[in-house]
């Protein structure tokens, strides 16, 4: 059994809300004045960072009272769109479609790993700085990799999360970041929220042996969007083995964050609540991630 790692803090910034993850209903209905570039980045910060990088920096800044600096701390980001808007703008500039001019100071935003790099630079994190791309489970791969390095002792703390920013989908943009550590934290400022134990990352249902299922009596939660074929097949497998489970999907999440953020948003809510049990995250990319969560207050 893999050793657990500990989620100590969760921070969330969207076009609608900034702060610690609240119940989903509170995520709706806020104004769009979410990010004060001058306050966070100084007078010229907005000249250097794209919207997606600002989201990531803002979310990481919400992880308060975390001692991070050094070569034992790393950054692990999942994203599909950090670079998208800047690359499209640069393409239009080269194609002379518009008059917007991107200069040298802004050009690095074309690189999808710039959000992770900006966080690493701000907090002087000299451990590995990973960017996974490719859909809604990119942040789950970031979590998986961070856990591997925490468990092996290569790093002692990690910032992990997801960021998305689509100019054409303003409401759904944002970033969620977690602080992870290899040991439980309990002090006057921070208490670990949840212990997360990585169990399996498998491709669809090809590798679904019964030993994946936890012992009787352990609550089982399935996170996945209703209607996706892989989720339906996974649930059918559970039902055929008479396994009790709870499928969790909060429809209001669909109205707050873009598609790529939804799996990680709900997993974050599990951590914040917190929930104890075996959690299966079934992604539309055909992956199944299995974690064991334990409430650190128990």
């Amino acid at each position: 059994m893999n050793m657990p790692v500990y989620v100590n803090n969760v921070s969330y910034v969207t076009g609608a809300y900034e702060g610690i993850v609240p119940p989903v209903e509170l995520l709706m209905g806020r104004g769009n004045n979410w990010f004060d570039a001058e306050k966070y980045l100084g007078k010229r910060g907005h000249r250097y960072f794209s919207e997606s990088v600002k989201y990531t920096l803002a979310a990481s800044m919400g992880l308060t009272a975390i001692n991070l600096e050094g070569n034992k701390a790393g950054v692990f980001i999942g994203t599909n769109s950090v670079d998208r808007t800047t690359r499209k703008e640069l393409y239009c500039q080269i194609s002379e479609v518009n008059d917007q001019v991107i200069g040298a100071a802004y050009a690095p935003n074309c690189s999808v790993n710039i959000a992770a790099g900006a966080v690493a630079q701000k907090y002087r994190l000299k451990g590995p700085s990973f960017t996974f791309t490719g859909g809604g489970d990119a942040s789950l791969m970031a979590l998986w990799k961070a856990q591997k390095l925490l468990q092996s002792g290569n790093i002692t703390s990690a910032l992990i999360g997801q960021v998305e920013s689509y100019r054409e989908q303003q409401v759904g943009s944002g970033s969620i970041m977690w602080h992870l550590s290899g040991t439980k934290v309990k002090n006057s400022e921070v208490n670990s929220l949840a212990a997360v134990c990585r169990r399996r990352w498998v491709p669809g249902l090809n590798m679904f042996p019964d030993p994946m299922l936890p012992s009787q009596g352990t609550p089982i939660y399935v996170i996945g969007k209703k209607g996706e074929e892989i989720l339906e097949r996974f649930i059918k497998n559970l039902e055929q083995t008479s396994t009790c489970y709870k499928h969790v999907w909060n429809e209001s999440v669909d109205q707050v964050v873009c598609a790529d953020m939804r799996l990680f948003t709900i997993l974050s809510m599990f951590v914040m609540k917190p929930v104890s049990g075996s959690v299966f995250v079934v992604s539309g990319n055909g992956h199944i991630f299995n974690f064991k969560l334990n409430n650190c207050g128990e």
Partner: protein, 351 residues
């Protein structure tokens, strides 16, 4: 965990297939062509060789060719082969077409998985020019977790936005990529894909090109585009890779540095290699592959790994036990160092 290279494949400006890399045995280096015949990038160079524009601009098509060659090269047959794609910009056509496509450039990996039908999990690591170095670490993890093999594919397509960004940053050489050269003025980008099939055990493999002894990662956390002047984290990464491989600097006699042709990166990297490997670092032990194929971004370390595998295989056939250091660095301050070694089965002898 040690890994073994059991299949390789590539496509790039030198041609299709790993045999095209034999051109690197020559002291005559190819010259790049202009990026385009029109547009604002007409004054920039690019290594495309004889690849058509359709192929050069398609990460999917290049990666598919490289992956198929690597799979066919090995004898691994399994429905549990994972795929890790290393790419900085992904399939650039989704960004740079006129259709305002909503497709993601990073969907290239899922498309490859569907085409290859190899059954394992898949991931895309996008760490700019160190993507393949970082992806190697993910491959090691997947083998530890029980995959029969992992296909690592680095790919980078011809991209208007990438070329423009490099031009804006004033890091492009107007003539060619001349790493470590005194008159270098920057890098020149190239396109291509390089793939390696990795396994966790050398038993029952058709061919083993090389062993991978260790891999280390870090971040400068200094500047988003410039390397830290003292190379502190790069030096630490090299030492960590040596420690993981149980090697000392004197054990390393072959070097494939990142060596992009830029003023800053080349100076820092060269100084560090000379100081760490003062006994063994010499002109004859260095392979500067970007002078042949350009800087292939997220694929660059994968090309280095393929070249290292081919050279080390030759060494092992001649009974020479050689260890090779392969470096890569990237925007965002990412550093990676890997140590490859000539492979000898228990039946073979080595010097």
């Amino acid at each position: 965990m040690a890994m073994y290279v059991t299949g390789i494949g590539c496509i790039g400006s030198l041609g299709e297939g790993v045999q095209s890399l034999a051109a690197m045995d020559s002291s005559v280096v190819p010259t790049p062509g202009t990026m385009f015949t029109e547009s604002q990038l007409v004054d920039t160079q690019f290594y495309q060789g004889d690849l058509s524009n359709d192929i050069a601009a398609s990460s999917y098509m290049m990666a598919l060719k490289a992956c198929q060659e690597a799979l066919n090269d090995s004898a691994v047959e399994s429905n549990n082969i994972a795929l890790v794609v290393a790419t900085g910009a992904g399939d650039t056509d989704t960004i740079e077409s006129d259709s305002n496509s909503s497709d993601s450039p990073y969907d290239v990996t899922s498309k490859l998985m569907t085409a290859l039908g190899i059954g394992g999990v898949y991931a895309t690591v996008s760490n700019a020019c160190s993507s393949a170095g970082y992806a190697l670490s993910v491959c090691e993890d997947l083998l530890e977790e029980g995959h029969a093999a992992v296909l690592l594919c680095g790919v980078e397509a011809k991209s208007i936005t990438t070329q423009s960004a490099f031009k804006l940053l004033l890091v492009l050489d107007p003539i060619s990529c001349r790493p470590f050269s005194e008159d270098r003025k920057g890098t020149v980008l190239g396109c291509g894909a390089a793939a390696l099939l990795l396994v966790g055990s050398a038993l029952n493999q058709k061919k083993i090109y090389a062993s991978i002894l260790g891999n280390a990662l870090s971040c400068d956390a200094f500047h988003l585009t410039a390397p830290e002047p003292n190379g502190t984290e790069m030096r630490r990464t090299i030492q960590e890779a040596l420690d993981k491989s149980s090697l000392s600097p004197a054990d390393v006699k072959m070097f494939i540095p990142h060596a992009t042709g830029t003023a800053l990166n080349d100076k820092i990297e060269k100084d560090i290699l000379k100081s760490v490997f003062f006994d063994t670092y010499s002109v004859g032990s260095i392979y500067l592959i970007k002078q042949y194929i350009g800087h292939t971004g997220g694929a660059s370390a994968a090309f280095s790994y393929v070249v290292a595998s081919m050279i080390l295989y030759r060494f092992s056939k001649n009974g020479k036990n050689i260890n090779a250091l392969i470096n890569c660095t990237a925007f965002g301050g990412n550093n990676s160092s890997a140590l490859f070694s000539a492979y000898f089965s228990k039946k073979m002898s080595k010097n």
